[in-house]
Amino acid sequence: MNGMLGKRAISSLVSLLALIVLVFFLSRLTGDPAALYLPVDASEAMRENFREIHGLNDPVIVQFGRYLGDLVQLDFGESLRKARPAIDVVLEAFVWTLWLALITMTLVTVAAIIVGSVAAFHVGRPFDRFASVLSLIGASAPDFWIAIIGIVVFSVSFGWLPTSGTGTIWHWILPISVLFVRPFGLILQVVRGSMITALGSPYVKTARAKGVKNRPVIFVHTLRNAMLPVITVIGDQAAALLNGAVVVETIFGFPGVGKLMIDSILQRDFNVILAAIMVTAVAIFIMNILIDIAYALLDPRIRT
């Protein structure tokens, strides 16, 4: 198992390195930083001075080395708009996003497994049909639309929930509910399909022939096998949330990474953008390793 995790960690590190290279060179393609950062009417001398200070006149490879060195020390430079280290700004926002993703995915996973398993056990019956329709709607409804409807109904009409911001537990309910819908629909589908396959498998037949009761047949024999493909989708969906739920965070004024990225892009706060990309990349890298560990824990065949 350690060997397998080691290999996966190394391959993930290689991807991370590739991302670093890509980010560095792509950001150089957006144009001359001196032109971007300085006011339009800055003189050529000011621009030259700016390039000198920021080492933009050095050969690209030297700049890249310096960039790498800074990365290792988590030094992404200052945020231009907030006048604080960019990494601090990003980490602050990331904690919000992490909580949002964690709570949402926990709820989604539990709900999708329960509803999907029950639907699989009653294939073709009313509950299964209802769950399928629900998941189709969930998987296909656009989140901005759900968000707006949510605000109109629960905040404006009934006045039960705040429209935006943070502060109380009430502020979390709408963003979480909106983010819940799509992953729930998708994961529910996968759980249902995977459970149907597992319920029809030979080892379930064996368990029945042994006289095992229905409940352990489903929750002991079937569910653990059925979870293997589900975990992959959970990882996928969680990664999307960790990247920052851009639309939902913006609509609800939620101070997460997604909103920070949009704000930074609009304000050309490049250091913050680069830091945000790196932080979310590392988070996804860590999450993939967690997924691999979960896989190995569930399936002994992968451990060797």
């Binding site: 064996t206 042994k210 006289g211 095992v212």
Partner: protein, 540 residues
């Protein structure tokens, strides 16, 4: 009311499918007594497994439906019992083992727990269940049982997995054990061991054993009585000897006639030059030597059988010669040219002379292509063989040659039976007019009567077209009827080679002797002699 331990009376089961109602069994009756072994003999689709599933309450309803009959266990009708009552019987009073032990063991739990679960599901304490599991694993011959309890199914061999299934089924000393093709997936020497184990355990516990099989040899070896099924009906019942010597129903006679290993043996002719010369062929899989230096010659028009058990390296030879995998070292000269050093392009051209037919025609034929497309694809790849205008004519000819009709060209693989699919695979191989066809277990997955037909077809093609066959098989009787010469392989080495007569009548290598002794004959008297010989070999 009844003296029988288990009695099935007038049982009818049907399944509602997209194609309409399928009557799987139609008013069948049979009974099983304590200490007795009853075989249900039949080919695929005969309904032989359906009554077992009905006994174990394993038929999904819907789509299944039991339309009539009774299943009396100690005089009580199981079909009138509640699901919970039947669950209490399953595993405790009536147990079942299956053909494919790898699929039927849960891959994610340790085997010790899985065996103990049988006892725990019926209310035994954890400690007691585990003690019992350990004792059972020792009893069925799992080496180092205590450490093996924590291992997972994929860490055992096929034979060991079936032993684990048996341990699981016998955990609570049931009155009845139902074994559904328990040895079909196993090597012949392992099959003999598993059957002996079942017999010993039956003697110890006095249970009734219901043995579902397609193999006349298994019936001859193990059964006290047999029920022959065809198309959902019981066509004949009797002891193995009665059935073998005095079968009255035409279907039973057909089955007996189709059993391989009874025909005349072929005498290889010396003379034609070798077309394939394999020298010191080796294959290494990361330190594991699958082939340890194999050398042999094949002559034009000759049938060379490669026999051996799983893991002997017999299929590896085929894959290396056809360059489906790369050899670690050695040469394979085809008409003087070494196949193993050809570029992919050169090899592509040579492939038309060397074709292959695989074991499972369901998987080796593309389900999205019609039979016409499957056969004519060869000419798309090798356009010089045949102008496109002549394709329909030639496809019809090939289909005729393999015993199908030209109208079949428009159909898709799923519309055919297993035997017909294998005929399509053969027609596909013939399309390139090869000099050599490699058959990798090409008839192993087929029913006995179908198997006989396909072997007949191959024999006809050999005589008419002079095609040479490299015939890879584990089934010795088929090899005896079909091959000119035989290579016997064990653990990546050839332990013996010779003419088919020499191998079958005067085997020299101890392994060949063991292999032959472990094979099951459909004649109960021959089988009794073999069993004695096997026990003698085991004694030495």
């Amino acid at each position: 009311m009844t003296d029988h331990l288990l009695e099935v009376r007038d049982l009818s089961v049907q399944f509602h499918t997209a194609q309409g109602i399928v009557r799987a069994v139609n008013g069948i009756s049979w009974h099983l007594d304590r200490g007795e072994t009853l075989a249900i003999l039949g080919e695929s689709g005969s309904g032989k497994s359906v009554s077992a599933s009905a006994i174990m309450n394993l038929i999904d309803m819907p789509p299944g439906e039991i339309t009539s009959g009774e299943i009396l266990f100690e005089g009580r009708d199981l079909l009138k019992a509640s699901d919970e009552e039947r669950r209490r019987l399953n595993g405790k009073r009536i147990s079942m083992i299956f053909q494919d032990p790898l699929g039927h063991l849960n891959p994610v739990y340790p085997v010790g727990w899985q065996i103990a679960e049988t006892a725990m599901a019926h209310g035994r304490g954890k400690a007691e269940a585990y003690d019992r599991a350990l004792a059972l694993m020792e009893r069925v011959g799992i080496p180092d049982a205590r450490a093996s309890m924590g291992k997972y199914p994929h860490q055992f061999s096929g034979g060991q997995r079936q032993r684990l299934m048996i341990a699981m089924a016998l955990a609570l000393k049931p009155d009845i054990l139902i074994a559904d093709e328990p040895t079909t997936a196993l090597d012949v020497t392992v099959q003999a061991e598993v059957l002996s184990l079942l017999e010993e355990l039956q003697e110890e516990t006095g249970m009734g054993l219901l043995l579902i099989t397609h193999d006349l040899g298994v019936v001859a070896e193990a059964a006290d009585r047999a029920v022959v099924m065809e198309g959902g009906l019981v066509v004949e019942t009797g002891t193995p000897r009665e059935l073998y010597h005095n079968a009255t129903h035409p279907y039973t006679r057909k089955l007996l006639a189709a059993a391989p290993g009874k025909g005349a043996m072929r005498e290889p002719e010396d003379g034609p030059e070798a077309i394939l010369e394999v020298r010191d062929l080796k294959k290494d899989y990361g330190g594991f030597e699958a082939l340890k230096g194999v050398s042999f010659d094949m002559h034009a028009g000759e049938t060379l059988a490669v026999v051996g058990e799983s893991g002997s390296g017999k299929s590896t030879i085929a894959r290396l010669v056809l360059r489906l995998e790369e050899a670690s070292s050695g040469t394979a000269r085809w008409k003087g040219e070494d196949l193993l050093t050809k570029s992919p392009r050169q090899m592509g051209k040579l492939r038309r002379q060397l074709q292959m037919v695989f074991q499972d025609p369901t998987q080796s034929l593309n389900p999205h292509m019609s039979v016409f497309q499957i056969i004519s694809e060869a000419w798309v790849i090798h356009p010089d063989i045949l102008p496109k205008a002549r394709w329909p004519e030639r496809v019809a000819e090939l289909l005729d040659q393999v015993g199908l009709s030209p109208e079949h060209a428009k159909r898709y693989p799923h519309q055919f039976s297993g035997g017909q699919r294998q005929r399509i695979a053969i027609a596909r191989a013939l399309a390139l007019e090869p000099d050599l066809i490699i058959c990798d277990e090409a008839v192993s997955a087929l029913d006995v009567s179908i198997q006989a037909q396909v072997i007949d077809l191959l024999g006809k093609l050999r005589d008419e077209l002079g095609i040479a066959f490299l015939f890879i098989a584990h089934d010795l009787p088929v090899v005896r009827d079909f091959a000119d010469r035989v290579l016997v392989m064990q653990r990546g080495e050839i332990v013996e080679q010779g003419s088919v007569r020499q191998i079958f009548e005067q085997p020299c290598a101890p392994y060949t002797q063991r292999l032959l002794a472990a094979g099951l004959d459909s004649d109960p008297d021959v089988q009794a002699d073999r069993r004695a010989a096997r026990l003698a070999l085991a004694g030495n």
